[in-house]
Symmetry: C2
Subunit: 403 residues, 2 copies
């Protein structure tokens, strides 16, 4: 649809009446010249509160029922925002994820979007209504609510922008855009005007809190322009878009870190085909995302296999590995929660050799021990001890000239 | 379905974790020998809190959006209760009103049930699951949530009991059953073992808080046995059922009162055909329920028309009447909020003449002024000044031998 903008507001932007009215003002300003689809998250801490509530009833709540429970948060937001917009004399309608035609798969609490059938949204837009869609939720093939997991509302927004061919997808948040590193940690951090999907993907993958990588992937695939900006100011934020040539002049565009990682190793694994598939198959079967993987060079037919998972998944991962270790007659499973991942990202790396070497030299000069390394074309990540994180980020930001 | 019981729990029964676990215990006890459908309301004061929240945003929230908002309360209850039941090793599934096949009409916030298509419920019962249905909500023909208004969860329960041919519909509440009058007011009030639909209808119509008349009407129509009982004890409550002959031996079975009434009069209305239709058509067009109606005997071609509405509807009713009064060149509209309705109910009245006369005599002996009177076959109601309510109820309860 022509002249359509998708605007997404997170939970902190709709946490109370005053904030909801502020969002209504932002939306209606823009609605004078554009068709608008708004995507909202649950108000404030409601999702966490509901999870706590469920866990007060039983330690492991049924996932289908958890989704039934969590879906109510976003539904409250859309209803309240729609009331606020209508009370300002604009026509609006709220739609649950299912009503908006968002179809998800059947993995409760971590569902993926299967397809979007935006018939109802288009009908309402054609009636000149502002359409307000509940983020984070879809309908699965059992006709049940399925929630999309962390970052789910961003995903809803980007996927809708793609399906509706919106001219822009605005992600309103409590920061002003994407920074060269975390501005709460490093005061010299600078806001970027533009960043490529690939760089943003690498940043997201290494713990930049602004957006989850799954949303960026969808944006890249469907070429959706994302504008990350502040709910509380009219300042321009950061555009996430496809790569443009002058971007390559900047070698490194950001330093990111993630303190939510933990390192797990299974030791003395017999060196024969199929073992890795066995281990990582079991983990993915439980929906545990594995990040960096390192397999030590074989010594006398035995390997150590190490990898990182998020701290939330650590307990499950360890118990799965212990099981596998028993079956394979492998050695003990060891793990370490006191690690962090520090990464540098930049599409310029592709044409500027020696960036990795420079990073390792900086760490070595600072006496920071590197435990694991992984690299991609435009990113280098190191696992280090979590106590060194802040120092590592600061020195990298400085030495790569981002200040 | 054979051996099926519908159990309905109100908001105070699921207000917190402890209470939800208590309800799960009651349900699973009964589930050993019966198929069970549970209907629940929103937890505690959530519905009122959500209404307040909406009104903090705009004075007159859009009704469709209000229903979208309010539907979340019951959905939270069904999800949490289902988790609690599953954690006890029983299989259960929660269903929203729409999922349960409850179809409503399009009057938002006061919808009526159009029909029930219990296919999904029956499928799940056949898998030996305890089915937990969100009360108070259905799906309207726009595929939107529609809420059923006050007492809506009772209505859901009774209508499901009828559609599923349940052997009983248990209404769990914070009182032990139906009493001869309000036990909070009169310590001599007695719990009734049985009461007929008609008596219960009259009691409900005159403000007995136990159940709303719309649910009783459905129960009567489909011959559903209702068992009103306490959530917090195993004691038998009161069975609401079809009339049995020995019931007639008791002349008056209950005294009820309603302090939520207000009296409105439109004065000096021209006495010509169509005027009443005009007035009450306008009120029902705004979904305002009118209770007692009195038209004074015509004096010189002008009438006074008085009626009672609930205090909530008073403001709207008065503004509609003022409009009509202007159009008809009638006199001023006057109203009084300081009134109450006191009623005696009993199927025995039909065969025992003089009950009304006795009631009026009792009031006159007590110097209680009667402002309006209405009677049915098994009920006599009087509007009196609200300050006299407690005294009137006590003396009627005593003089009709209910203590």
């Amino acid at each position: 649809m022509n002249n359509l903008i998708v605007m997404k507001f997170g939970g902190s932007s709709v946490a109370n009446t005053e904030k909801i009215i502020n969002v209504a003002n932002r939306v209606t300003e823009k609605a004078r010249k554009n068709h608008i689809v708004v995507v909202v998250s649950a108000p404030g801490d409601m999702t966490d509160d509901l999870i706590d509530r469920a866990k007060s009833i039983t330690e492991s709540p049924d996932p289908r029922e958890m989704d039934m429970l969590l879906a109510t948060g976003e539904i409250q937001s859309i209803a309240l925002l729609s009331m606020a917009i209508k009370s300002k004399g604009f026509d609006a309608i709220s739609l649950t994820g299912p009503q908006a035609g968002i179809h998800a798969n059947n993995v409760h609490t971590k569902a993926k979007i299967r397809k979007i059938r935006p018939k109802k949204i288009l009908e309402e837009l054609k009636k000149n209504k502002i359409v307000i869609v509940a983020g984070f939720q879809g309908l699965n093939s059992n006709d049940d609510f399925a929630t999309l997991g962390r970052g789910g509302s961003d995903l809803t927004a980007v996927a809708l922008a793609a399906a509706l061919k919106a001219k822009e997808c605005e992600i309103y948040t409590d920061v002003k855009g994407v920074y060269t590193t975390d501005p709460r940690l490093i005061s010299e951090a600078k806001k970027l005007d533009k960043i490529s999907y690939d760089e943003m993907l690498e940043l997201a993958g290494v713990g930049s809190q602004v957006m989850m990588s799954r949303s960026i992937e969808v944006a890249k695939k469907y070429n959706v322009n994302i504008h990350v900006r502040s709910t509380f100011s009219n300042e321009k934020g950061t555009i996430i878009t496809k790569e443009v040539s002058q971007m390559e002049d900047v070698v490194v565009s950001g330093v990111a870190f993630d303190k939510n990682e933990s390192k797990v190793s299974i030791t003395d694994v017999p060196d024969r085909p199929g073992i890795a598939a066995n281990i990582f198959g079991a983990l993915s079967g439980k929906n545990i995302n594995v990040d960096m993987i390192i397999q030590s060079a074989a010594r006398e037919k035995y390997n150590d296999i190490s990898f990182t998972v998020s701290k939330n998944d650590l307990k499950n991962a360890v118990s799965i590995l212990k099981n596998i270790s028993n079956k394979l007659n492998a050695g003990p499973v060891i793990y370490d929660e006191n690690v962090a991942k520090v990464s540098i990202v930049g599409i310029g790396m592709r044409s500027h050799p020696g960036v990795a070497a420079k990073m390792f030299k900086i760490f070595s000069d600072e006496d920071i021990n590197i435990q694991m390394i992984s690299t991609s074309e435009i990113k280098i990540s190191c696992i280090i001890s979590s106590k060194d994180t802040d120092r590592a980020v600061k020195i990298l930001h400085k030495k790569f000239g981002l200040g």
